[in-house]
């Protein structure tokens, strides 16, 4: 059963939206009218250009309130969450010792030309993030943090020789789609090396969503505000599941 919702101003389904934009024109009453017509073309009704002014020669800034006729069915949207399994560090350590029975090897890096390491460090470093300890602090994790501007090749090579269980790739700069480009490159390289199925492949960054991650062929994606324990839990659970599955299939092969 579906549930269509519209933006909410002060009454259900009034569809109210706030917008602001710059137009490359000098301000005049005609410019306000242009902004109004533009919003109309975007499909909005009830368009109110509440602010319009010159910000520089040849440029005007506008604030608009309007109603959209569009709605979206929230029931049909199932953006799976990568943060499903909430566990504390202690629980995760216990889980790993019991279900995996050895240390989990994790390699993290800020790939491509991206030098924003604060995010990946927040996940990996002892210190952690928002009072939630980083993976280095976990008894059952062995973490390698490659820092910034790491080439996909190096990360893959390391994975190969060290038998890494999980790769954590970070992208913070998104200009000109550089994040998607770099994430894709890494995933494809792993495929090519036949390593893809051997690792839990995770990406993260302020603009990353779990949906985007699966589209890029990653096992999970973590966005703004991620806590280390959320990532650790996902890695542990996913790895445990795979091991169970593999052992089963192996068992079958034996018979």
């Amino acid at each position: 059963m579906s549930r269509f919702v519209k933006p909410y101003g002060d009454t259900m389904n009034d569809g109210k939206v706030q917008m602001s934009f710059t137009l490359p024109v000098d301000w005049s009453e005609a410019a306000d009218e242009a902004a109004r017509q533009l919003a109309g073309k975007m499909g909005f009704t009830d368009v109110q250009v509440v602010e319009g002014r010159r910000i520089a020669t040849g440029f005007s800034f506008f604030v608009v309130y309007a109603s959209t006729p569009q709605s979206v069915d929230v029931e049909s949207i199932k953006a799976s969450s990568s943060r499903a399994h909430a566990m504390t560090m202690e629980e995760i350590d216990a889980f790993v010792s019991e279900r995996i029975g050895r240390k989990v090897r994790v390699a993290g890096a800020c790939i491509g030309t991206d030098a924003h390491t604060v995010g990946i460090d927040a996940i990996l470093n002892m210190k952690g993030y928002k009072g939630d300890y980083g993976l280095e602090r976990y008894r059952t994790f062995e973490t390698y943090n490659f820092g910034s501007q790491v080439a996909a090749e190096d990360l893959v090579a390391f994975t190969k020789e060290r038998g890494v269980d999980a790769i954590l790739a970070s992208q913070v700069v998104t200009q000109k789609g550089s994040d998607v480009k770099n994430f894709t490159e890494l995933a494809e390289l792993l495929e090519a090396e036949g390593l893809r199925d051997r690792v839990v492949l995770i990406c993260g960054g302020p603009r990353v969503t779990n949906l985007m991650a699966s589209e890029l062929g990653y096992d999970a994606g973590f966005g703004r505000g991620t806590l280390p324990s959320e990532v650790a839990a996902f890695v542990a659970v996913t790895l445990a599941d795979r091991m169970r599955r593999d052992s089963r299939t192996n068992g079958q092969m034996l018979t």
């Binding site: 101003g9 002060d10 706030q18 109110q48 250009v49 509440v50 602010e51 604030v63 309130y65």
Partner: protein
């Protein structure tokens, strides 16, 4: 942050305000209004509507010939109670149904009327007292967050939409919810009845709507573990009745100004003075905090010029409230952040004014109103003006903080606007929580000088008002550049002199209870 202010000047202003108010109080004591009489009936238990949706209290009071009315509705009504033995509510219905007319009972001796009402009066006052104790108990169990108390308005026109918006706002951090009245309700000479879903720029103030919102806020208060207070508007033609309803439905605050109706709604001044006195005695007794409307001076004229008038009005409102037996703790005097944002050092003047008010009225739960007049469609700049307003409020220790909306120039608040507004206040007041306590203003500097000018300007104004008397002063546009004549304006026909044997058991009881002889 402490200003050195001319204490003697402050005392002189208080003395002047007392002198200004004294003659008006004499006038008040000798008069009553139809709304006061209707309030008396409501207190006794009369409610409901009759033909053409006319409220029963109006039916009854309008049915009294002047000669009867001047002796107080309670007298005629009490006689009917004595004679019929019905309780007031039932009697009200019977009269509305046309089964009796008060005229039928004129023969009953006055003493019988007095006696017949005594228990009902006692019960009414006990009930209000009980509601008040309820409030105190809840506040003790679910304590408020520290001030400034974040206050937002809901104004959809539909009490049920308002309820949803109010609950959402409370969850987002609001500590006080005000339901804005439908446009022009203040000019109606009766109070609408029942739940309402059709309001314009606001939602009608009815007892049923009060109850609906009170219940919703009580519920969310429990889940939040802190009391969310409820506010509505009294000033207007029905001040005494709305004060009665608010007392019964346990509202926590009411807008109640001794001159707002006169100046900004052209309601007759005598009517207003009499009504505000009776309604304030009720507010005082029911523990309701009043909010005065000095902010209105600033939305209609230049805020820098009007500062002394605002202070003068605060002194007058304070004096009127004291005369109604109201303690400082219930007198929410108003001020607003309305100086032109593009004025150099305007922020300093705002701080000066806010701190001056804080120090002159140390025990009053000051009500600080947000920038409105200079808000424009530039919501981004508007949000910044609100931020400095929030900063000024926390710096100067204001008590009741009406959160500004970035969309002030555009529409009555959307649900999302309120969330952003509360986020603004919470952020600023937290990151600068103790800033005010950690700084001092330069002695003799611009801030102190401004405060001094405002105070002396106020004394000067009060002097002129005192010289000619308050009514004449209003008649000569000394306040807000608005001229109102003593016998002009709406509702004057509802004002009358009390007869020698005027009977108003609540007026008597409340004066006895509250007003220092």
């Amino acid at each position: 942050m402490e200003l050195r202010i001319d204490r003697a000047g402050v005392d002189r202003c208080r003395a002047l305000a007392a002198a200004v108010v004294a003659p008006v109080e004499e006038f008040i004591a000798a008069h009553s209004t139809v709304s006061v009489e209707r309030a008396v009936l409501r207190l006794l238990g009369v409610d409901g509507i009759g033909a053409d949706e006319v409220p029963v209290p109006n039916l009854i009071v309008d049915s009294l010939p002047p000669s009867q009315r001047d002796r107080g509705a309670a007298l005629a009504f009490g006689k009917a109670v004595a004679e019929t033995g019905l309780d007031p509510a039932a009697l009200g219905e019977a009269i509305a149904a046309g089964r009796f007319a008060l005229a039928d009972f004129s023969g009953v001796p006055d003493a019988a009327a007095h006696g017949a009402l005594r228990p009902h009066v006692g019960r009414a006052l006990a009930y209000i007292r009980g509601r008040r104790d309820e409030r105190s108990a809840r506040l003790a169990r679910l304590p408020q967050l520290r001030p400034p108390l974040l206050y937002v308005i809901v104004a959809s026109g539909n009490i049920y939409e308002d309820r949803a918006a109010a609950v959402a706002a409370a969850e987002a951090g609001a500590q006080i919810i005000a339901v804005i009245r439908s446009t022009g309700q203040s000019l109606l000479d009766f109070v609408p009845f029942g739940p309402t879903t059709e309001g314009f720029g606001g939602t009608y103030a009815t007892q049923a709507n009060f109850a609906i919102m009170r219940a919703a806020l009580d519920e969310v208060s429990e889940s939040l573990g802190r009391c969310v207070l409820l506010t509505n508007y009294a000033s207007g033609l029905c001040m005494p009745e709305i004060a009665t309803m608010a007392a019964m439905e346990r509202l926590d605050m009411l807008l109640n100004d001794s001159m707002y109706g006169i100046l900004f709604r052209d309601i007759n001044m005598k009517r207003t003075f009499i009504d505000q006195h009776f309604s304030r005695m009720l507010n005082a007794y029911s523990g309701i905090i009043i909010n005065t409307g000095e902010d209105n001076y600033l939305t209609t004229a230049d805020a820098v010029d009007q500062a002394p008038a605002v202070l003068a009005s605060q002194f007058i409102n304070e004096e009127f409230a004291h005369r109604a037996g109201m303690p400082d703790g219930q007198i929410g005097l108003g001020d607003a952040y309305e100086i032109d944002p593009d004025l150099e050092d305007g922020f300093l003047y705002q701080v000066a004014q806010a701190q001056l008010t804080r120090q002159i009225f140390p025990n009053a739960p000051l009500k600080y109103m947000p920038p409105t007049k200079h808000m424009t469609g530039d919501i981004f700049k508007g949000h910044l003006i609100d931020a400095l307003f929030n900063l000024t409020s926390v710096m100067t220790g204001q008590t009741i903080h009406l959160c500004g909306m970035l969309t002030e120039a555009t529409h009555t608040p959307y649900l999302g606007d309120r969330a952003l507004s509360l986020e603004n206040a919470r952020y600023i007041m937290n990151t600068a929580r103790h800033f005010g306590e950690e700084i001092a203003v330069k002695p003799g500097g611009a801030i102190e000088r401004r405060a001094g000018d405002v105070l002396s300007g106020c004394e000067e104004l009060l002097n002129r008002v005192g010289g000619m008397g308050l009514m004449a002063a209003i008649d000569t546009a000394l306040f807000a550049d608005v001229k109102r004549s003593p016998d002009g304006g709406r509702g004057f026909d509802g004002v009358f002199a009390r007869a020698g044997d005027y009977f108003n058991p609540f007026d008597e009881a409340l004066r006895r209870e509250l007003v220092p002889a």
